[in-house]
C-alpha cells in the first residue's frame, strides 16, 4: 500500500437525518496503523458518523467527501464497503432469528474472500479459525449454532461483534460504543481482541462516550465531536481531561 | 331459520304500519335477504332469534311514565332515547339543546357488517343528531320498553372537538333493540365512547356501529356487554385520515343461554393509522361468546400499526368462546400482531388464594377481575369502571 494515501479521509462531511442537520462539516484523517478515538456527548453525531461510513440508509449526505484508501466510499453499497475492508461494530447488534450465527460469519467471510479473488474457505478451516477466535473471546461454542444474536445477553452480543471482527480481519474497524454495557472483565476481553488485531496496516476508529475503553486500547489520537463538528483533537491525555472535566468546557471553548 | 319466511314477516309488519317510509330499504331487504351464518362475518351470530321477534314494527306508544334510570356520572348531561325516540321526559334540558331530531337516516351502503341495519332503515322513526364543535360530556340512554325499537344516533365531531360520551343500552322488558350509531370524527377530534349494555335477558340486541376517522383523530371505545339474551355488535370503522387512531377495548360476559357476538372490522386507508383492539370474554353456563376482530390494511396505508389481543375464559363446560383475530394486509410497511388465548381460571392461583384464607367465591371474583383487568382499566371514569367490574366479575364479600 502506498503509505501516502490515508486509510480514511473525511472532508467537510455534512449529513442530515429527516431534515435535521446532524453532522455540520466533519474533517478527519486516519492513516494506516492508527487508532483514533471519537468522543463526545450524547447526540453529538458520533453514531451518525459511524453509520454514514458504513452506508446505512436513512441519512442524507448534503456535502463532503469520504475517501477510503483513496476510493470514494460514499458511492459504494454497504456490502461493497464491507468487502473493501470496512467493518462496523454495532452499538446495538440486531437479532436475526433463525439465521445461524456461524452461517452468517461464513457467508460474510466468503463474500469478502471472493471479492478479493480468493477461494472460499473450506468448512474445516473455517471451523478451526472460528473456534480459535471464540476461545480468545471466551465465547461459548454453543452460540455458534444459535440464531445471530438471538437471545444473547448484551455482553454476548458485544463479544460476538468482536468475534466477527477477529474472523473478518478488516482494514478499518469502526467500533460504535462497543464498550457500553460491558462489565470490566468483558471490557478487558474486548480490548484484548482489538489490540490483537492492531498492526501497521490496519486502523481503528473507536466511537465512545467514556474513556474507560481507552485505558485498555490506547489511541493515537482523540477527537471531540460535538454539535456535528470535530471541536478539538489531541492525544490520549485529552481523553483523561474529558473524563475529569466533562464535555461542556470543550463546547464553551468552541463557542468562545 | 327460514330466511324467506322471516323476510315476508318483516315486510308484512312494515306494510301493516303504513310502509312507504323507506321503499329503498324494503327493496334492499328483498334483494339482499338477511345475513346467513354461512357468511363468514355472521358465522357465530344467533340469527334464529329473529324468528322469535313477535312484531318488527316499532313499539307504537311511547311510555310517558318516567323510567327507572341509573345514576348519572358527574359532569355529564343526560339524554334519553326511549323506544327509538328522543324523550323530553328524563332528558336534561341542556342535553336536548345540544342535540336535535332529524328524519331517519338514509340506508347505509351495503356491506357485510351493515347487513342487518336494513331493519332499522325500514322502521326507524327518527335520528338523534349530536353535532359538537368544541366540547361535550353526554350520557345517552337507549331504552327499550318491550317490542321493537330502532334508535339512531348520528354523532359528528367538528375538527378538534372533544366529546365524552357514555352510551347505555337498557331494556325494561323483553325487547328487540336495533340501534344504528354513526360516528364521524373531523381532523384532530377525540371521542371517548363508553358503552355499557345491561338489557334484560329476554332482549335481542342487533346493533350496527359505523365510524369514519379523520386525520389525527382519536376514537377510544370501551364496550361492556353484560345483558340481553342475544347481542350482536357489527362495527365498521374506517381510518380514513392520516395518523388516525382507534382503540377498542371490550369485555363481555355470558351465563345461562346468552349469546354475545361482535364483529369489529377496522379498515386502514391512510398512512400512519393505528388500531389497538383488546377483548376479554367470560363465558359461564351454556353461553356462547364470540369476538371477531377483522383488520384490513390497504396499500395506501404504509406505516400502519394493528394490535389485537383477544382472550376468553370458560367457566363451565357447556359454555363456548369463539375468537377470530383476522388480519388482511396489503402493504409491507406495517406492524401487525395478534394474540388470542382461551383457558379457564388458573387452578394454581385459585388454590393459592384459598390457602390464604379466601373463600372460593371471593377467590373466583378476584381472578375474574384480574382476567378482565386490561379491559376494565381502560374505563377511566371511576364510577363506571366500578359498575362494570361489579356487574362483570361479581361482588367481593
Amino acid at each position: 500500500m502506498n503509505a501516502a494515501i490515508p486509510m480514511l479521509e473525511i472532508t467537510d462531511l455534512k449529513v442530515s437525518v429527516a431534515g435535521q442537520q446532524v453532522l455540520r462539516g466533519v474533517n478527519l484523517r486516519v492513516n494506516a496503523g492508527e487508532v483514533h478515538a471519537i468522543m463526545g456527548p450524547n447526540g453529538s453525531g458520533k453514531s451518525t458518523l459511524a453509520h454514514v461510513l458504513a452506508g446505512r440508509p436513512g441519512y442524507e449526505i448534503t456535502s463532503g467527501t469520504v475517501l477510503f484508501e483513496g476510493r470514494d466510499l460514499l458511492s459504494l453499497a454497504p456490502e461493497e464497503r464491507a468487502r473493501a475492508g470496512l467493518f462496523l461494530g454495532f452499538q446495538y447488534p440486531v437479532e436475526i432469528p433463525g439465521v445461524n450465527n456461524a452461517y452468517l460469519l461464513k457467508a460474510a467471510l466468503n463474500a469478502t474472500r471472493r471479492s478479493r479473488g480468493e477461494s472460499e474457505i473450506d468448512a474445516f478451516e473455517f471451523l478451526a479459525l472460528v473456534r480459535a477466535r471464540m476461545a480468545a473471546m471466551q465465547i461459548d461454542e454453543s452460540l455458534l449454532s444459535r440464531g445471530v444474536n438471538e437471545g444473547f445477553s448484551g455482553g454476548e452480543k458485544k463479544r460476538n461483534e468482536i468475534l466477527q471482527l477477529l474472523v473478518l480481519e478488516p482494514r478499518l474497524a469502526v467500533l460504535d460504543e462497543t464498550d457500553s454495557g460491558l462489565d470490566i472483565d468483558a471490557l478487558k476481553l474486548v480490548a484484548q481482541g482489538i489490540n490483537s488485531l492492531r498492526s501497521s496496516a490496519r486502523s481503528f476508529v473507536l466511537v465512545t462516550h467514556y474513556q474507560r475503553l481507552l485505558a485498555f486500547v490506547v489511541p493515537d489520537y482523540v477527537h471531540v465531536l460535538a454539535r456535528g463538528r470535530v471541536l478539538l483533537s489531541g492525544d490520549r491525555s485529552l481523553a483523561l481531561e474529558l473524563e475529569k472535566r466533562g464535555y461542556d468546557w470543550v463546547q464553551e471553548q468552541a463557542v468562545a | 331459520m327460514n330466511s324467506a319466511a322471516t323476510i315476508e314477516r318483516i315486510l308484512g309488519d312494515y306494510e301493516h304500519q303504513g310502509g312507504a317510509r323507506s321503499a329503498v330499504a324494503a327493496r334492499a331487504l328483498l334483494e339482499k335477504g338477511l345475513p346467513a351464518v354461512r357468511d363468514e362475518r355472521w358465522r357465530h351470530a344467533n340469527l334464529r332469534v329473529l324468528d322469535q321477534i313477535p312484531n318488527f314494527a316499532p313499539h307504537a306508544t311511547v311510555q310517558a311514565l318516567p323510567a327507572k334510570l341509573p345514576p348519572l356520572a358527574p359532569g355529564f348531561l343526560r339524554l334519553l332515547i326511549r323506544d327509538g325516540r328522543r324523550s323530553t321526559v328524563g332528558s336534561d334540558g341542556d342535553a336536548l339543546k345540544a342535540t336535535r331530531v332529524a328524519p331517519a337516516a338514509a340506508p347505509l351502503n351495503p356491506s357485510h357488517e351493515t347487513h342487518l341495519s336494513v331493519l332499522g332503515d325500514l322502521f326507524a322513526n327518527e335520528s338523534t343528531v349530536i353535532e359538537v364543535r368544541e366540547h361535550l360530556a353526554l350520557e345517552v340512554i337507549l331504552l327499550g320498553d318491550g317490542g321493537a325499537s330502532y334508535p339512531q344516533l348520528d354523532i359528528k365531531l367538528a375538527p378538534g372537538a372533544r366529546v365524552e360520551l357514555i352510551e347505555r343500552q337498557l331494556s325494561s322488558a323483553p325487547s328487540f333493540l336495533c340501534p344504528r350509531i354513526g360516528v364521524t370524527l373531523g381532523d384532530g377530534a377525540t371521542l371517548n365512547h363508553y358503552r355499557l349494555q345491561k338489557c334484560e335477558r329476554g332482549t335481542v340486541l342487533f346493533e350496527t356501529l359505523t365510524a369514519i376517522l379523520g386525520a389525527g383523530s382519536r376514537y377510544d371505545v370501551r364496550q361492556v356487554g353484560l345483558g340481553s339474551g342475544t347481542a350482536r355488535t357489527s362495527a365498521l370503522l374506517q381510518l380514513k385520515g392520516r395518523d388516525a387512531q382507534l382503540r377498542w377495548t371490550a369485555l363481555a360476559t355470558g351465563s345461562g343461554e346468552q349469546r354475545a357476538d361482535t364483529l369489529l372490522r377496522t379498515e386502514h386507508h391512510a398512512p400512519g393509522t393505528r388500531t389497538e383492539e383488546l377483548f376479554r370474554g367470560l363465558a359461564a353456563g351454556q353461553s356462547r361468546i364470540s369476538f371477531s376482530a377483522d383488520a384490513y390494511v390497504d396499500a395506501k396505508a404504509p406505516g400502519s400499526v394493528v394490535r389485537q389481543s383477544l382472550r376468553g375464559l370458560i367457566e363451565e363446560r357447556g359454555a363456548e368462546i369463539d375468537l377470530r383475530p383476522r388480519l388482511a394486509i396489503h402493504t409491507d410497511d406495517v406492524q401487525a400482531t395478534h394474540g388470542a388465548t382461551t383457558g379457564q381460571l388458573d387452578e394454581a392461583l385459585l388454590f393459592y388464594l384459598l390457602s390464604r384464607g379466601l373463600d372460593r367465591d371471593s377467590a373466583r371474583v378476584l381472578l375474574k377481575r384480574a382476567f378482565l383487568g386490561d379491559a376494565l382499566s381502560a374505563i377511566d371514569l371511576p364510577a363506571l369502571r366500578a359498575e362494570a367490574e361489579l356487574a362483570a366479575a361479581g361482588e367481593l364479600k
Binding site: 454497504p78 467493518f87 440486531v94 436475526i96 432469528p97 460474510a108 463474500a111 | 383475530p325 400482531t337
Partner: protein
C-alpha cells in the same frame, strides 16, 4: 455447513426448473364429465362394484354442489366439462411389472425431476411411487417393504389386491360428500398411492410419491390413503411438479390418513407445481383436501408442507384428534410471488381428552402474491385438557403483495388451553443492513433472513427434503426484493 452451501447453490438457479414436457403417447379420454366417464375410469382400472357405486354416488352428489367461494382467492370460472378426467401414458402391454418395463422416457422425466426412482433410490433408501398424470408408474422397493409387511402400491393396485382395506377405510376420513373438490375427486380419481403399515411395524424407509402433471388440458385427481395400524410408524413424502403451460390445470387430490392406537404418521409435502408466469398466465389450481384422523389413543399425525408452486393453492391439511392423548401437528411454509394466490392452513379438531395440537405457519408474500393462513382450532366439550398452540407469522417482501390471517378459535371445554400468536412484518431494514455490513449481498441477505424465518418448519422435514425446500424457496422468491 451443507445447508449453507445448498442455499448458496440455490441462488444460482433460474426460474421454474421443472417445466419440461415429456413426449409420450398418452391414452387420454375426451374432455367432459358424466356417468359414462366415471364408468370408463372404473372399467379401465378393473375396479370391483363397490368402487364404481361409490364413485357414482359421489358424482350424483357433486352435481348438487357449487364451487366454494369463501377462500381468499380469485380465478376465472372453471369449466369442468373442458377437462379430461383420465390420461395415462399408453402402455405396450398390460403395464409395467418392474422398473425394467417402465417407459424409459418416463424414467428420464423423473431423473430430470430428481426423483430417486432408479438405482439412486436404492442408495437414498427412499421408496418411491411416481404418479404421472393419472397413473401410478412404478413403485420401487416393493419387496423390501413387503418383507416388513408394509403395503405400498399404486391405489389402483390396492383396490384389486386389498379391497377389504379399501372398502373399510376409503372415505372414512374424507367422505365423498365432504366438499366440492373432494367430491369431484371421489367420482373421478384415477390413481394415487396406498400405504398400510401393520401393527407394531416401523416402516423401514421413507415412502415417497412424486406427482407430475404432463398432458395438456388434463386434471389430476389422485387419491392417497395411508393407514398406520396400532403402534406403527411411517414417514411419507410427497413431491410435485408440472410443465409450464399457458392454460390453468386443475389438481384436486384427496389424502386420507388414519392412525390407530399409538401409531404415528408423518406426512411431508414439497409442492412446486408450475405457478404460472410473471404475468400470472397459466399455472396449476391446486385444490386439495388432506385430512388425517388420530383414531386411536396416543396416536400422532404430523403434516409438514412447503408450498412454493401453483397459481392457486387451496388446502388445509387437518387432524381429527379422536383418540385420547392424540397429537396433531401442522408445520407450513407457503410462499407466493408474481400473481400466485395461496389460501392454506389447517383444522385441528379436538374431540378426545388430553389431545394436543401445534400449528406453525410461515407465510411469505412477494410480487403481487396473496397469501392467506386460514385455520380452525375447535375444542369439543369432550376434549378435557386439550391444548393448542398456534404460531402464525407473515413476511411481506414488497408493497404490492398481501398477507392475511384468518384464524378461527372455537372452544367448548373449560379445561382447554388455546393460544394463538401471529405477526405480520417486513424484513427489518436493520437486519438487512447488518448482513450487508458484513459483506453479504442484498439478495443473499434476504434469502438468509427468509430461511431463518422458516427454520422452525424446515427442521420438521426429512433431511433431503429440507435441502430441496430451501432451494425452492430461494428460486420461488427470485427477484422479490430488488
Amino acid at each position: 455447513m451443507s445447508e449453507a452451501n445448498a442455499q448458496l447453490d440455490a441462488l444460482l438457479g433460474g426460474s421454474y426448473r421443472h417445466g419440461f414436457v415429456t413426449d409420450v403417447d398418452a391414452d387420454t379420454v375426451a374432455p367432459g364429465l358424466d356417468e359414462s366417464v366415471v364408468r370408463l375410469i372404473s372399467r379401465k382400472k378393473g375396479e370391483p362394484q363397490f368402487m364404481l357405486d361409490w364413485r357414482l354416488r359421489a358424482l350424483a352428489h357433486w352435481r348438487t354442489q357449487r364451487e366454494p367461494k369463501w377462500a381468499n382467492v380469485t380465478h376465472p370460472p372453471i369449466d369442468y366439462q373442458q377437462i379430461s378426467y383420465y390420461s395415462a401414458p399408453k402402455k405396450k402391454t398390460d403395464g409395467p411389472k418392474s422398473l425394467a418395463e417402465v417407459d424409459p422416457k418416463l424414467l428420464a422425466t423423473y431423473e430430470k425431476l430428481g426423483v430417486p426412482l432408479h438405482e439412486r433410490a436404492r442408495l437414498a433408501g427412499v421408496a418411491v411411487d411416481a404418479v404421472f398424470d393419472s397413473v401410478s408408474v412404478a413403485t420401487t422397493f416393493k419387496e423390501r417393504l413387503a418383507k416388513a409387511g408394509v403395503i405400498f402400491c399404486p391405489f389402483s393396485e390396492a383396490v384389486q389386491q386389498h379391497p377389504e382395506l379399501i372398502e373399510r377405510y376409503l372415505g372414512s376420513v374424507v367422505p365423498y360428500t365432504d366438499n366440492f373438490f373432494a367430491t369431484l375427486n371421489s367420482a373421478v380419481f384415477t390413481d394415487g398411492s396406498f400405504v398400510y403399515v401393520p401393527p407394531g411395524v416401523r416402516c423401514p424407509m421413507e415412502l415417497s410419491t412424486y406427482f407430475r402433471i404432463n398432458a395438456a388440458k388434463t386434471g389430476q385427481f389422485e387419491r392417497t390413503l395411508i393407514i398406520a395400524d396400532e403402534g406403527a410408524y411411517v414417514s411419507y413424502l410427497e413431491g410435485c411438479s408440472a410443465p409450464m403451460r399457458d392454460e390453468n390445470q386443475l389438481h384436486a387430490a384427496v389424502v386420507e390418513l388414519i392412525a390407530l392406537q399409538d401409531a404415528q404418521i408423518k406426512y411431508s409435502t414439497v409442492q412446486n407445481w408450475y405457478p404460472g408466469d410473471e404475468q400470472g398466465r397459466g399455472g396449476i389450481y391446486n385444490f386439495v383436501t388432506k385430512r388425517g384422523e388420530c383414531r386411536g389413543a396416543r396416536s400422532r399425525i404430523s403434516w409438514t408442507q412447503v408450498e412454493t408452486g401453483s397459481a392457486i393453492t387451496w388446502k388445509y391439511p387437518s387432524c381429527v384428534l379422536r383418540g385420547a392423548g392424540s397429537v396433531g401437528e401442522f408445520y407450513s411454509v407457503a410462499t407466493v410471488n408474481h400473481f400466485q394466490q395461496a389460501d392454506t392452513g389447517t383444522k385441528m379438531i379436538h374431540i378426545g381428552a388430553d389431545t394436543r395440537s401445534t400449528i406453525v405457519s410461515k407465510g411469505i408474500s412477494s410480487g403481487h402474491g396473496q397469501n392467506a393462513y386460514r385455520g380452525l382450532v375447535k375444542i369439543f366439550p369432550s376434549a378435557n385438557g386439550a391444548r393448542n398452540f398456534t404460531q402464525c407469522d407473515s413476511l411481506l417482501l414488497g408493497p404490492q403483495c398481501g398477507a392475511h390471517t384468518f384464524p378461527y378459535i372455537e372452544v367448548r371445554n373449560p379445561g382447554a388451553i388455546v393460544e394463538h400468536e401471529a405477526s405480520t412484518s417486513k424484513i427489518s431494514e436493520d437486519q438487512l443492513f447488518y448482513c450487508q455490513q458484513r459483506g453479504v449481498a442484498t439478495e443473499d441477505a434476504v434469502n438468509m433472513i427468509v430461511s431463518g424465518f422458516c427454520k422452525s418448519v424446515f427442521k420438521e422435514l426429512p433431511m433431503e427434503f429440507a435441502v430441496e425446500a430451501q432451494n425452492l424457496l430461494a428460486v420461488s422468491l427470485e427477484g422479490a426484493v430488488g
